[in-house]
């Protein structure tokens, strides 16, 4: 009996104490909290350091997505690069889990600290590539998949990727 009374009083005391500490809640939207760059909000498609689309339409983000809200179709550009002919995220389904970013082998798809995406019309939550593709490199500044990959594209011949030897001369018998 006595013990529970003390407990009650201590609780009251703690509550009272909080009246004098600084408030954690902020006056959103006038005041915005600081969100770390790795916060998981609105998804973007980024560009490589040379300014070209990073996404190669490999479909790994789509298959990693637990709610299946990414759909795209691959195409091949004239310069030989794979790219998404369309790239669609249905944000009304997205749970901002970041699995797509983790799966992406080219650092193309990235989550950003922007979470303010409310809409009155659910249909407006469907983002196409034109809404997703940004002009910068996002969080990863240096990576350019095509400099590493063995695929020949315009401006990068066979043997010119990272760590590659010039193409072998199949007609030569020399060791």
């Amino acid at each position: 009996m006595l013990r529970s009374l003390i407990s009650q009083l201590r609780t009251l005391g703690t509550v009272l104490q909080h009246s004098f500490t600084r408030a954690e809640t902020v006056e959103y939207p006038e005041q915005k909290p600081y969100l770390a760059p790795r916060y998981r909000g609105r998804i973007v498609l980024t560009r490589d350091p040379d300014g070209d689309e990073r996404c190669v339409a490999c479909n790994l983000c789509a298959v990693a997505c637990p709610v299946d809200c990414i759909a795209l179709q691959q195409g091949v550009r004239e310069d030989g690069r794979w790219y998404p002919e369309f790239f669609r995220i249905n944000f009304s389904r997205c749970i901002m889990c970041g699995m797509c970013e983790e799966a992406c082998p080219t650092a193309a798809i990235q989550l950003t600290p922007d979470f303010e995406m409310c809409e009155y019309d659910r249909q407006s939550m469907v983002y196409e590539k034109e809404h997703l593709l940004i002009d910068g490199t996002g969080k990863y500044h240096d990576y350019n998949f095509y400099r590493v990959s063995g695929l020949k594209i315009f401006g990068k011949d066979k043997g010119e990727a990272l760590n590659e030897e010039p193409p072998v001369d199949v007609k030569s018998l020399l060791p």
Binding site: C58, C65, I70, Q74, G150, L151, V168, K171
Partner: protein
């Protein structure tokens, strides 16, 4: 059966196999690359290493290659121990040293055997810090994409291409660690089976070119068990669809038919379903003769207006399923129903059917054809009319090698050893054809004769075998070879257009049976359901030519371009005679253009149908995806037509399976068709069978551009399959319902062994179609008169059809990549005949109004002229007709390109 010990456990395994096969058969995961269930072992890749111990006392053991190690009673193996698995891991690591960083942009990714094996061995971190070797790719034609950097030198490609399929233009080139798998120079791969490289190569070196340019990963493809509709062999296929487009066709294993391989017509020809000329809406002609699209109600009204109380006639189709044809036959009445084959072809198919049913010789499956130890091929350029059968013959001639191997007690999977042993010794194959064929390279003898002489030769051979005649010419040589064999096979078909030839083939097989041989007799069929149409019309039928003299008021044409079956004048006469034409088809053609009402049919990837192949095997194809727009399966349109016409019996049919239930009655044929596959009520573990793999992505985004509210999955009330990723995808589901192959850790098609009861054997779920001819009775054919021997005429040439794998078939010629390979329709002349006519190769010649390119061919019988059959330009030409050949006046020669240069720019 021997008992072996693997990782301390005893297993009973099949006699005569190798350890790799046995382990896979037991469900143990053992990585491999170079071994292939249809091609045996060569021990090249070193990936399947295990440790073998001499006896229980042996603690050191030695590393052996499982694929090269026979299983013997009491043998002791260590599969998962550190030594064996460590060795396998280093093998993969060394293969990966030069491997490009390509998976995201590699069309093999997600179904890559190399990825699977890398994960299976546990190799993860790259230790090698050196540079990677690179190669330049080659242009290999419009069908196959080449990316040589990804090669792991397992030699599967050349073993398939050269050893198994008899190709010559793909080889292992260059030296030491520079080995290069390609052609001596860029150009289109010549083998009609090159497409199998896509599946045989365990990496992304060879991929499907049209898929690479409109790519979808395997896990995103919706697929359903289907049957190839490009010829009469009836290979089993797995078409894959995404976003309403057919993306690719893969092989579907059927142990009795195609096994592991398809031909390129079947693999690449199916994409005609994506063609621009697909019809999407029903339409009828307005007063000015233009087609106007109809709404559903307007269409129903139009059908009622045109059909009620009218006398109907119908033309079926050998390229439509059995059910649609059956419905049409019942709707118009058998006496007003034409099979849809040209009248001469119809007669030939009836004859072939009668022989197959009544002959004492066995009517073999494709698998059984591979077991023949002597083959006589009569009048068919098989590689172009039934390509997969030609591949089977290439295996049949190796039976001599297997016999020699057996003498030395070499196991049949010892591939390299057996090839070394046999060298060029083959079981005899004799090819009798109007020109050279693509099987001549393995033939013991080839005889170039026009159809009439082929028939005469066949009759001579039969007489010699019966002992009624004697000769020392070709007939005697062939007869001797057939008589020396135990399982001789006689193979012919309607390709040469000769009834007497079919009789001759049957007579030879009959005589061989009488001589005590286990003889086999087989006929090819031109289209996927030609045999089905022969069966459906076995009792009654009206000839196409006779339709014009009926009093029908409405003609219903089911998936058939009449201009391919009848001369233009007869089509026009028929059109003038019957006031209303209703056409059901999937692609625009000249017959639809003459119709009053056009109904858009679902293509073969959108409809359920049973096709009956040349052997009389009923096989069910299921829709891969629901038809788009207002397209509907032909059988559904026919039910609508029946309702509009007021047909009581047919109006009662609601579902696909009801067609059989309602109409089969006592007819064993229809009962067989109805039971070709499990019906719609079949459930596996209480669930439907999914068409989409469990990793199918994008479901909540695919259609979100149209509406963010996802529609429910289309119901499939007609089959046990679901347009969904939910359901039961067990490895023992019936073979007829095998919608995709996948097993944990086995993402590539190599996972197939999980579905087989033994390697290369039956599927665990059974079901490879239903053979119908064994239980049917058909009246014997009256013998056709033996034609006069051929003698050339002064100013006229005898036409002989030449079939082209790419081009002679109506729909597959529109497949993506294939258009580039069909080339111009040509006339083939003996060089001397050509010079008499003043023609050179590449010139133009006019035959019966058609301008064709002249090709010179010394194998053409002088006095005869071969022509590319089935091309739009040659539809008026008929085999066996005598024609004049004139020089085309304003002919544009094609620029000097050799075939391999075609499209080299792309």
């Amino acid at each position: 059966m021997p008992v072996i010990k693997v990782d301390g456990k005893d297993y009973e395994v099949a006699e005569g196999g190798n350890l790799l096969e046995s382990c896979l058969g037991l469900g143990l995961d053992l990585p491999y690359f170079c071994w292939h269930p249809a091609m045996g072992s060569i021990g090249a890749c070193r990936q399947c290493a295990v440790v073998q111990y001499q006896n229980e006392e042996d603690t050191r053991g030695r590393i052996v290659m499982a694929c090269m190690t026979p299983v013997t009673d009491g043998a002791i193996f260590d599969l998962s121990g550190e030594r064996a698995s460590g060795f396998r891991q280093t093998v993969v690591e060394s293969l990966m040293v030069d491997h490009p960083h390509d998976c995201p942009v590699c069309a093999e990714g997600g179904e890559c055997h190399l990825q699977d094996m890398t994960v299976m061995t546990g190799h993860r971190d790259r230790h090698y810090r050196g540079t990677k070797k690179t190669y330049r790719n080659q242009y290999l034609g419009p069908l196959i994409h080449h990316e040589m950097n990804r090669c792991i030198t397992c030699y599967r490609c050349t073993r398939f291409y050269r050893d198994y399929a008899g190709g010559t233009d793909l080889a292992a080139l260059a030296a030491h660690d520079h080995v290069y798998f390609g052609r001596h120079r860029e150009g289109t791969l010549e083998s009609p089976f090159a497409g199998n490289l896509v599946e045989v190569c365990p990496t992304g070196v060879f991929t499907d070119k049209s898929l690479v340019h409109d790519y979808t990963r395997k896990w995103d493809l919706q697929s359903a068990p289907s049957v190839c509709t490009s010829c009469g062999v009836g290979c089993n296929t797995l078409p894959g669809e995404r976003y309403g487009r057919l993306k690719r066709i893969h092989n579907r294993y059927n142990p009795a038919v195609n096994g592991y391989f398809l031909c390129d017509r079947g693999r690449f020809g199916g994409t005609h379903v994506n063609a621009e000329s697909r019809i999407d809406f029903p339409a009828q002609r307005d007063s000015e003769g233009r087609f106007q699209a109809l709404t559903d109600e307007a269409c129903a009204r139009a059908l009622r207006d045109r059909l009620q109380g009218k006398r109907l006639a119908g033309i079926g189709s050998p390229r439509a399923g059995a059910e649609a044809n059956l419905l049409l036959q019942r709707l118009v009445g058998a006496e007003n129903y034409a099979s849809g084959m040209a009248d001469d072809e119809h007669a030939l198919m009836q004859r072939a059917l009668a022989h197959l049913v009544n002959s004492t010789a066995h009517n073999p499956s494709l698998r059984e054809i591979e077991s023949a130890d002597a083959v006589l091929l009569l009048g068919e350029d098989l590689t172009h009319t039934a390509a997969r059968t030609a591949l089977a013959l290439r295996q049949a001639v190796r039976n001599e090698a297997h016999r020699l191997a057996e003498e030395l007690r070499l196991a049949p999977w010892q591939d390299a050893a057996i090839r070394n042993l046999a060298q060029d010794r083959r079981s005899p194959l004799h090819v009798v054809c109007a020109g050279s064929t693509d099987l001549d390279d393995i033939a013991a003898g080839h005889y170039r004769l026009v159809a009439a002489d082929q028939a005469r030769l066949a009759s001579d051979i039969a007489a010699i075998i019966r002992g009624e005649a004697r000769s020392d010419g070709a007939a005697a040589r062939i007869a001797a070879d057939l008589l020396a064999a135990e399982r001789p096979l006689v193979l012919s078909g309607p390709g040469a257009g000769s009834a007497a030839l079919l009789d001759g083939a049957a007579a030879i097989a009959e005589a061989l049976v009488a001589a005590g041989k286990a003889a086999m007799l087989s006929f090819t069929a031109a289209e996927c359901n030609s045999m089905g149409q022969a069966l459906l019309c076995r009792d009654s039928h009206i000839a196409l030519a006779a339709l014009a003299s009926t009093d029908a008021e409405v003609l219903i044409i089911l998936e058939n371009d009449l201009l391919r079956r009848l001369p233009m004048a007869s089509v026009e006469a028929l059109r003038a005679r019957i006031p209303t034409w209703i056409g059901i088809d999937c692609l625009e053609n000249d017959t639809l253009a003459r119709c009053d009402l056009v109904l858009p049919a679902a293509a073969f990837t959108e409809t359920e149908a049973t096709y009956i192949n040349q052997e009389g095997r009923a096989q069910r194809a299921f829709p891969t995806h629901p038809p788009a727009e207002a397209r509907r399966p032909a059988w559904r349109w026919l039910l609508d037509l029946a309702r509009a016409a007021g047909d009581r019996t047919l109006s009662g049919i609601g579902h696909f399976d009801d067609i059989g239930v309602t109409l089969a009655g006592e007819d064993p044929l229809l009962q067989g068709i109805a039971s070709a596959a499990p019906d719609h009520s079949f459930r596996s573990r209480g669930l439907k069978i999914p068409r989409q793999p469990h990793r199918y992505s994008g479901r909540t985004a695919m259609r979100a551009d149209v509406s963010v509210h996802e529609p429910r999955q289309t119901d499939d009330a007609d089959s046990a399959l679901a347009f969904s990723m939910e359901g039961s995808a067990t490895t023992d589901r019936p073979g007829a319902l095998l919608s995709y192959v996948w097993s944990p850790g086995w993402n590539s098609n190599q996972s197939l062994h999980k579905f087989q009861s033994e390697i290369g054997g039956a599927l665990r779920g059974e079901g490879s179609g239903l053979r119908l001819l064994d239980s049917l009775a058909v009246a014997a054919a009256t013998p056709a008169p033996l034609p006069e021997a051929f003698s050339r005429r002064e100013q006229e040439w005898l036409l002989q059809a030449r079939h082209h794998l790419f081009g002679s078939d109506e729909l597959s010629r529109l497949g993506s990549g294939i258009e580039a390979l069909t080339g111009r329709a040509a006339i083939y002349l003996h060089p001397e005949d050509a010079s008499r006519l003043g023609l050179e190769a590449g010139d133009g010649a006019v035959i019966a109004g058609a301008a064709l390119e002249v090709r010179l061919d010394p194998s053409q019988v002088p006095g005869s002229a071969g022509f590319s059959t089935g091309y739009p330009e040659t539809l008026a030409l008929r085999s066996g007709e005598w024609v004049n050949i004139d020089v085309a006046s304003d002919w544009q020669r094609q620029p000097e390109l050799i075939g391999s240069d075609r499209g080299a720019a792309s």
